[in-house]
């Protein structure tokens, strides 16, 4: 089967890989780019652990062929922390115990990232509704919701501080 060149900018770094068209985005991330933070779960779009951001929007990387996102900007869980400094979402998931086994966490974090970046004033109910796209079998979602709300509040405060400092 002829291979296709696919260029992806993942977490700010551009790579070109040569893949069979049937290769799923999640497998390119994990196998070709070595980014194993993104997990593979149900492989048919239901569980959400493979969720990544494509040009800022959450998608299922297990139901996306890599060739379909040629040229796109992809963000994965590896792109959240800045060096040793965790992203506020990661920090709050840690603090509020928003995970137990951790299997759903990479997808949950990326979905949460989309939710709070799109709506800094997100409410508790909107977070609950928003993360309904991702399955977690450990936490009962309560701690995840609390962590996302806390991260949203922190990020809003931080950005207000930055804006204030600039003004």
């Amino acid at each position: 089967m002829p291979r296709h060149e696919v260029t992806l900018t993942v977490n700010g770094r551009t790579s070109t890989v040569s893949v069979e068209p049937r290769k799923l985005l999640v497998d390119v991330l994990r196998e070709d780019l070595g980014l194993t933070g993104t997990h593979v779960g149900c492989e048919h779009g239901v569980c959400g652990t493979c969720t990544v951001l494509r040009d800022g929007e959450s998608i299922r990387s297990c139901t996306t062929f890599a060739v379909q996102v040629d040229g796109a900007e992809i963000r994965t869980v590896e792109g959240l922390a800045k060096g040793a400094e965790l992203h506020p979402l990661q920090d709050e998931f840690w603090d509020k115990q928003g995970l137990q086994c951790g299997y759903c966490t990479p997808g949950m974090l990326m979905r949460a990232c989309e939710i709070i970046e799109g709506n800094p004033d997100v409410t508790h109910d909107q977070v609950r509704e928003g993360i309904a796209s991702n399955l977690c079998r450990c936490t009962g979602y309560q701690f995840i919701t609390e962590a996302v709300c806390a991260a949203a509040a922190r990020m809003k405060a931080d950005s207000a501080e930055t804006t204030g400092a600039q003004a």
Partner: protein, 315 residues
């Protein structure tokens, strides 16, 4: 997809397909050739040229890729429509809302043109799976896939939309009423692709309601309704249901029962009775025929009442 499939061969098949490249581990979907043309003309030409390979059009892939991961679909050639610019636009032509087949569901859901020209569609889109699926899934893809439980087929049926199909011989337009021919089957001929959904603007109140075990799951029953009032009397009613038959169905008898009445509990009940009279939804593990009929009855009432309340001057 869950619940519909039995997986028994995927790991074995994946191994046997492994090439010389050691990195090629655990590939789920069957091999296929791929092209991403930039025009409709090029796409239909490719479709025709590879008809023997069971060539298929690829839209957002949110139904097709899962089917391929399970190897329930094994097309040898996929023609990705994502690079065809003209299919990604929403425009208004007079009183008609025209949605390109490749418009992503999340885009249509939040587009001002859709809120204005087809609020029923915007409301229904909020029930299509979850945002990460809608960020890839397309309006045309869902309609062409024609899942009997899907929202958009019922919506285009209720709105008397037209579907534009392009083939080697040019384009043709099919009414939604003639488009759905069976479960996962449509009037799209071999060598044709769906390019546009044309929705006439409708006056009156709309409602889309559905019952699913959990939000985002496939619905057991969905109801799409538009009701237009004239001085308190129902001037026109359009009602379609999903999930109750192999194809989405228009509740013509209910529409007739409502039209010309000043809606009240009795006339709504009569319309609901008329709608379910001809239904015999197939039962499964999530609900038998009787349960599904009861749910249909309940959601028809909710849908009609909500549409009426939005139509304004009820009673």
């Amino acid at each position: 997809m869950s619940g519909l499939v039995t997986i028994d061969t995927a790991p074995v098949a994946a191994r046997s397909d492994r090439g010389a490249d050691d990195k090629e581990v655990a590939v789920k979907p069957p091999p296929f050739q791929y092209a991403a043309p930039t025009s409709v003309a090029e796409a239909v030409e490719l479709l025709g040229a590879h008809a023997d390979d069971d060539a298929r059009a690829l839209a957002g892939g949110q139904s097709l890729v899962p089917l391929m991961n399970f190897r329930l679909a094994q097309p040898a050639y996929l023609i990705d429509l994502r690079r065809i610019e003209e299919l990604t636009r929403i425009r208004t032509e007079g009183d008609t809302l025209v949605i390109g087949a490749m418009v992503r569901q999340s885009h249509a859901e939040h587009a001002p043109e859709v809120a204005l020209g087809a609020p029923l569609l915007a409301e229904a889109l909020g029930y299509v799976a979850h945002p990460p699926i809608r960020n890839s899934g397309t309006v045309g893809g869902s309609i062409a896939h024609a899942d009997p439980a899907a929202e958009l087929p019922a919506v285009v049926l209720a709105l008397d939309a037209e579907l534009v199909l392009a083939g080697l011989g040019g384009t043709r337009t099919v009414a939604a009423a003639d488009f759905f021919t069976g479960p996962f089957s449509t009037a799209i001929g071999s060598g044709e692709i769906l390019t546009e959904v044309r929705i006439p603007r409708r006056a009156g109140g709309h409602a889309f309601v559905e019952f699913a075990r959990t939000h985002g799951n496939f619905a057991l029953v969905g109801v799409a309704a538009v009701v237009e009032l004239d001085g308190g009397t129902v001037a026109r009613a359009s009602i379609a249901l999903s999930g109750v038959a192999p194809v989405p169905v228009r509740a013509t008898a209910a529409e007739e029962a409502l039209t010309g009445t000043v809606p009240d509990d009795a006339s709504i009940r009569a319309a609901v009775d008329a709608a379910v009279a001809g239904l015999s939804p197939a039962g499964d593990v999530h609900g038998g025929t009787e349960t599904r009929t009861d749910i249909a009855r309940s959601y028809l009432r909710r849908g009609i009442e909500l549409a009426l309340s939005r139509a304004g001057d009820r009673r």
